[in-house]
């Protein structure tokens, strides 16, 4: 579902380094994603252009990288173990402030080394020899073994991927005419509400040449917001109204059917 295009032009020529004369121009089709009764996920369009100075050599390889990071949340990850043939929850790890949504896309597959060096990529960064747990606040509980910690870390990413909340791709950015790019990003219906940031990077010869970031909001609106905030602010009355609705429908359903049976 693509909304009316609201084009935001950001010419970044001012911050260019004199040696490589490439500008990144980006836009997005919306600054806000509204969750209303009909919300069933959305496609976020991110597009832009990169201009290169014709006098520069064309040999240098340039790539576009788009990163979308959702609001932080705390998650509990539980592992099942077999006890006497039963698969039961056993060990549990709490990860704090992990992104509720994460998307990473680039025009060509980026090396782990590049991602590690530039601290990009929740998914790939940890593959390096030295795992940097310090960037994540984690309550490991009874787990001390490094191998097991790693297993939990990959399981966190895997379970988020299975829910379509984490994704890393290298073939979703469309390049048009050599210097225009466009990408449709799937925002699934399970996304958390809050502030999201979109980070764009222009990469030339494996070096980040330019960065640009902007934020957008995912917010509940209309009846969705009304019901949600009522349930949080007046839980007793919310429960009571839920009950009254149940009683009315239950009762009237029986009455209507009574008439039917008489006919």
């Amino acid at each position: 579902m693509i909304k009316q295009l609201i084009i935001l032009f950001y010419f970044l020529t001012g911050v260019l380094t004199p040696s490589i004369s490439i500008a990144l121009v980006i836009g997005s089709d919306q600054e806000e994603i509204y969750i209303d009764a009909n919300f069933s996920g959305e496609e976020l369009l991110v597009f832009g252009a990169f201009y290169s100075d014709p006098s520069q050599s064309r040999d240098s390889k340039s790539d576009i990288l788009i990163e979308v990071v959702g609001p932080p949340e705390d998650v509990a990850l539980r592992k099942k173990d077999s006890y006497f043939g039963f698969w039961l929850n056993s060990k549990s790890v709490t990860f704090r402030d992990v992104p509720g949504f994460y998307y990473l896309s680039s025009t060509s597959k980026l090396t782990d080394e590049f991602l590690t060096n530039n601290q990009i990529g929740l998914l790939e960064r940890k593959k390096s020899e030295m795992i940097d747990w310090s960037s994540l606040t984690t309550d490991w509980g009874s787990i001390i073994d490094e191998k097991e910690k790693e297993e939990f870390y990959y399981a966190l990413i895997r379970t988020k991927q299975n829910d379509s909340l984490y994704k890393q791709v290298s073939d979703e950015i469309e390049i048009i005419d050599g210097n225009l790019f466009r990408s449709y990003i799937d925002i699934p219906n399970t996304v958390p509400v809050g502030e999201y940031s979109v980070n764009l990077h222009l990469i030339i010869d494996n070096e980040i040449s330019q960065k640009y970031s902007y934020n957008f909001m995912v917010t509940r609106v209309g009846i969705e917001e009304a019901i949600y905030s009522f349930s949080k602010n007046y839980p007793f009355f919310y429960g009571l109204i839920s009950l009254i609705i149940a009683i009315i429908i239950g009762w009237s359903g029986a009455e209507i059917f009574k008439r039917f049976r008489r006919i």
Partner: protein, 307 residues
């Protein structure tokens, strides 16, 4: 066509919700079950978070139980006095149940304990009902005349505080129904169900109530238990989804009425045999979930920060 659920925080297909509510409602009207033990796992199966599934199905059971009770009441099949006595026990049981529930959540074992509880209860009840009802059906096919006592005396008749239940043609102590109500209250609050599938056999086999009165009476008291559970969930877990409940209620109420009509066309033991098969089916599924190695041995739950 899909609808976004504000508390579950995801969107689902409306027709899927309506057909799910309709089928569960039909079974609830037919068997006098709240349907929670089917509704809760089915909601989880379509991707609704466990706490929302439990809390919302309690809310839905209120509606389908009211609808079903009215149907049975008009036919004079509700023993309000027995229902009231059961409720006294159920009230205290559900308070204890909520306390147990919160302890299990705190140690992260609620899912496991509930699965094992479900499995044990459903298997035991399903098997005993299947054996009992198939014996009756077999005897009927052999044209044996089965003498059924109007009432039989067991330990329930030897306890003090005896009260006459005219509707059920019983003169028994109030202690057994209060204890049964208490146990149902605990199970209702911890498992997010009405508890009819335990209540009904308990009323038939422990109290000796006539099968015809059992369904209406259990529905009657389930209304109040699940109403209490709904309020408790709305105020403690914030997991009652009004939009989800609305669609489930709408379809389950219609399904329940059709189910009541269908129940009148079938003999008591056939209803019980069918119920036994459904109960065993659910038990088997729970057993498989516990015994078969899952594809993903990790499961993730978001601990939302309440601002």
């Amino acid at each position: 066509m899909s609808i976004y659920l504000p508390i579950a925080e995801l969107s689902v297909n409306i027709f899927l919700l309506l057909s799910l509510g309709g089928v569960v409602g039909f079974l609830s009207g037919m068997f006098g079950l709240g349907g929670g033990f089917l509704m809760t796992p089915l909601l989880i199966f379509i991707g609704i978070p466990t706490n929302v599934a439990v809390a919302t199905s309690a809310n839905q059971i209120v509606a389908s139980s009211i609808s079903g009770t009215l149907g049975h009441w008009r036919q004079g099949l509700v023993d309000f006095k027995m229902g009231g006595v059961l409720l006294i026990g159920a009230f205290f049981g559900s308070i204890l149940g909520v306390w147990i529930f919160s302890k299990l959540v705190a140690i992260g074992q609620i899912d496991t304990v509930i699965s094992i509880l479900y499995f044990a209860l459903l298997t035991g009840i399903g098997l005993s009902m299947l054996i009992e009802s198939s014996k009756v059906i077999r005897d009927r096919i052999r044209r044996k005349s089965v003498k059924r006592k109007i009432h039989y005396h067991n330990w329930a008749h030897r306890l003090p505080f005896k009260v006459r239940f005219y509707k059920s043609k019983l003169y028994i102590s109030v202690i057994p129904p209060i204890i049964i109500g208490f146990v149902i209250g605990i199970l209702s609050a911890t498992m997010g169900i009405g508890g009819a599938f335990i209540l009904i056999p308990a009323m038939i086999y422990f109290l000796g109530m006539p099968t015809s009165k059992v369904i209406g009476t259990s529905l009657f008291q389930i209304i109040f238990i699940t109403a209490l559970v709904t309020i408790l969930h709305a105020t403690t877990t914030f997991a009652v989804d009004a939009v989800l409940a609305f669609f489930l209620i709408l379809s389950s109420v219609i399904g329940a009425q059709v189910g009541v009509l269908a129940a009148n066309k079938l003999r008591g033991e056939e209803i019980r045999a069918l119920l036994a098969i459904i109960v065993l089916g659910v038990a088997t599924k729970i057993a498989l979930d516990l015994l078969v190695e899952p594809n993903e041995i990790f499961n993730l739950s978001v601990i939302r920060l309440v601002f």
